[in-house]
C-alpha cells in the first residue's frame, strides 16, 4: 500500500541543500507493520518528513505511491486526507489553539476533502472521549492548547489520541515510544494495535528499541543507514541489533 522507490531527498540547511536520503527503497503491504531502525542521523525522521511533505524537504529523485496514487504530487494536507498519518518525533506546540479545536478542524477538513459530512460538536466530543480513554489520557488535557506544557511522554500519548480520532489508513510513527514510561509504553502499544491493526491498514514504525516491538509485532524490520535501507529481516533482526549493535550487524 506504500511503495517507496529509489528515493533521494535533500534538506534545506543554512549552508544550502544537504542530501540525506540516497536511493531508499521500501514497500509496506496492506495489513502489515514494518519497523525501521537505524543509528542517529541516518535519515529516519527525514524519511518521515519527506513522506509528509514538509516544506524544505525536496525530493530530487525517486517515487512514492500510496494506495496506487502519486503521494509526492499531493499537498501535505491532501496526504493526510488521503489517509496518511505522521506521528512526530517532536510533537509541535501550538499556543492558543486547544486540542479539541485543532482536532475537530482536522477531522472535518479531512472529511470535507473526502466528500463526507462534518462531525457535529457532540459527535466529535464522543469520539474524542472514546480515544482519550483508549490511550488513558485525561479529557482535561484535550481542552488545553496543543502540546503546550505537555511532558515528553504526554506529547507522545497525545499523538496517539490524535491518530485514534483521525483513524488513518497508514501511520508513520517516528519514535513514538521514546520518552514513554513502562506503563505508557504498553498503553501506546495496545493503542497502536487497536487503531491500526486492521485489514487495509499499514504502519511504519521508526524506533530505537526492541521494547515497543514486543507489543506491536512487526512483519519486517529494516535497517536504515546513511540514507538507504541496508538490511531487511524478520522480527529477529531487531533482537540481533539489540544484542550486537549496528556496527556488528550492518
Amino acid at each position: 500500500m506504500l511503495k517507496i522507490e529509489n528515493l533521494h531527498a535533500e534538506v534545506a540547511t543554512a549552508d544550502g541543500a544537504k542530501q540525506i536520503l540516497n536511493g531508499l527503497t521500501l514497500e509496506v503491504g496492506a495489513g502489515e507493520v514494518h519497523a525501521i531502525m537505524g543509528p542517529n542521523g541516518a535519515g529516519k525522521s527525514t524519511l518521515a518528513y519527506a513522506l509528509g511533505g514538509r516544506p524544505g524537504y525536496e525530493i530530487t529523485q525517486g517515487s512514492v505511491t500510496f494506495d496506487g496514487k502519486d503521494l509526492l504530487d499531493m499537498e501535505p494536507h491532501e496526504r493526510a486526507a488521503a489517509g496518511l498519518f505522521l506521528g512526530f518525533q517532536y510533537p509541535v506546540e501550538i499556543p492558543g489553539v486547544s486540542n479539541v479545536q485543532f482536532l475537530r478542524e482536522a477531522a472535518n477538513a479531512q472529511r470535507k476533502a473526502r466528500g463526507e459530512e462534518p462531525l457535529t460538536g457532540g459527535e466529535f466530543l464522543k469520539l474524542a472521549k472514546e480515544k482519550a480513554a483508549l490511550l488513558r489520557m485525561d479529557m482535561d488535557m484535550l481542552k488545553r492548547p496543543v502540546n503546550v506544557g505537555f511532558s515528553g511522554g504526554e506529547k507522545k500519548r497525545n499523538e496517539m489520541v490524535q491518530m485514534g480520532i483521525l483513524d488513518p489508513k497508514f501511520a508513520i510513527l517516528d519514535e513514538t515510544d521514546s520518552g514513554l514510561d513502562i506503563d505508557a509504553l504498553r498503553t501506546v502499544g495496545d493503542g497502536i494495535n487497536s487503531i491500526m491493526r486492521a485489514e487495509g491498514k499499514g504502519v511504519l514504525l521508526i524506533t530505537h528499541y526492541q521494547r515497543l516491538l514486543d507489543y506491536v509485532k512487526p512483519d519486517k524490520v529494516h535497517i536504515l543507514a546513511k540514507g538507504r535501507i541496508v538490511k531487511t529481516g524478520g522480527p529477529e533482526l531487531a533482537l540481533e541489533l539489540e544484542r550486537e549493535g549496528y556496527e556488528e550487524v550492518v
Binding site: 499537498e75 494536507h77 498519518f85 510533537p91 492558543g96 489553539v97 485543532f102 482536522a106
Partner: protein
C-alpha cells in the same frame, strides 16, 4: 478652519510613522481635535472602536476609576486611534488593540498614559497582523510624574507579518520621575510558526484554515482582558473577517 501651521507632519514624533499623503489631505480639525471623556472617581467606563480615519480620545480617570479601550483597526485607508489617558490615585487603564490588514495602508495606535498620582495601573496589549505592503504601528508613551509611587504600567506589542513587503513599527517611550514603579514592556516582530503550520497540515488542515487558527490565537491576547466577553468575541471575529478576504 484649516490652519496649515498646526497640521501635523511625519516630522512630529507622534506622527513619525503616519501616512504622509493621508495627513496632507486631512483637515486640521480631525487631526488635532479631541473627544474628551471624564471617568468619575470609582466608576468604570468602556469604549470600543472599529477604527476608520483619525480619532483622538482624551480621558481623565478619577480615583480608583477604570477606563477600558478596545479597538480593531482594519480600515481600508490610513487610520489612527490615539488615546491620551490621565490616571489619578488607584485608577486603571486597560487597552486592547489589533491592527490587521493588507494593501498599502498604514494603521496605527498611539497612546499616552500619564500616571499623575500614586497607585495607578495600566495594561496595554497590541497585536498587529499585516500582509501586502501594509504597515501596523504602536506608539505608546508612559509618563510617571514625581510622587506617582507604586505605579504599575505594562505594555506589550507583537506583530506577525504574513508577507515580505509588510512592516510593523513600535516605539515605547518611558518618562519616569518616581522611583518606586514597575514598568514592563515587550515587543516582538516575526512570522507565523512554520512548524506549527506543517503540523496542522500533517493532520489534514489546509493552509488557509491553519493560518486562521494561528492568527486567531495570536490576536486573541489583545482582547483577553476585555470585561465584556461577548464584545471580545465580536472584536475577534471582526479582526479575523479581514483575513478571510485576503489574497495570500
Amino acid at each position: 478652519m484649516t490652519d496649515l501651521a498646526t497640521l501635523p507632519t511625519t516630522r512630529d514624533e507622534d506622527w513619525r510613522y503616519a501616512d504622509a499623503a493621508a495627513l496632507e489631505s486631512s483637515d486640521a480639525e480631525t487631526l488635532t481635535g479631541w473627544t474628551e471623556i471624564a471617568v468619575p472617581a470609582g466608576e468604570s467606563r468602556a469604549e470600543s472602536r472599529d477604527v476608520t480615519g483619525v480619532e483622538r480620545i482624551r480621558v481623565r480617570v478619577g480615583k480608583s476609576g477604570k477606563f477600558e479601550l478596545s479597538a480593531v483597526n482594519a480600515a481600508p485607508g490610513y487610520a489612527r486611534l490615539e488615546c491620551e489617558v490621565t490616571l489619578e490615585d488607584g485608577a486603571h487603564f486597560e487597552f486592547g488593540g489589533v491592527t490587521i490588514g493588507g494593501g498599502n495602508e498604514t494603521r496605527e495606535f498611539v497612546t499616552r498614559c500619564i500616571h499623575v498620582e500614586p497607585n495607578a495601573t495600566s495594561n496595554q496589549v497590541v497585536r498587529a497582523v499585516h500582509w501586502g505592503k501594509a504597515t501596523g504601528n504602536f506608539l505608546g508613551r508612559i509618563e510617571v510624574v514625581r510622587d506617582a509611587q507604586k505605579t504599575d504600567a505594562a505594555q506589550n506589542f507583537r506583530a506577525i507579518l504574513l508577507e515580505k513587503g509588510a512592516s510593523a513599527n513600535t516605539k515605547p517611550e518611558l518618562e519616569i520621575f518616581a522611583d518606586d514603579v514597575k514598568c514592563a514592556h515587550g515587543a516582538a516582530i516575526g512570522a507565523l510558526d512554520q512548524m506549527a503550520g506543517f503540523y496542522m497540515a500533517a493532520r489534514g488542515i489546509p493552509p488557509e484554515i491553519a493560518r486562521k487558527l494561528q492568527v486567531q490565537a495570536f490576536v486573541a491576547d489583545a482582547f483577553e482582558n476585555i470585561e465584556d466577553e461577548a464584545l471580545g468575541e465580536r472584536l475577534l471575529e471582526r479582526a479575523l473577517s479581514v483575513l478571510e478576504g485576503a489574497q495570500l
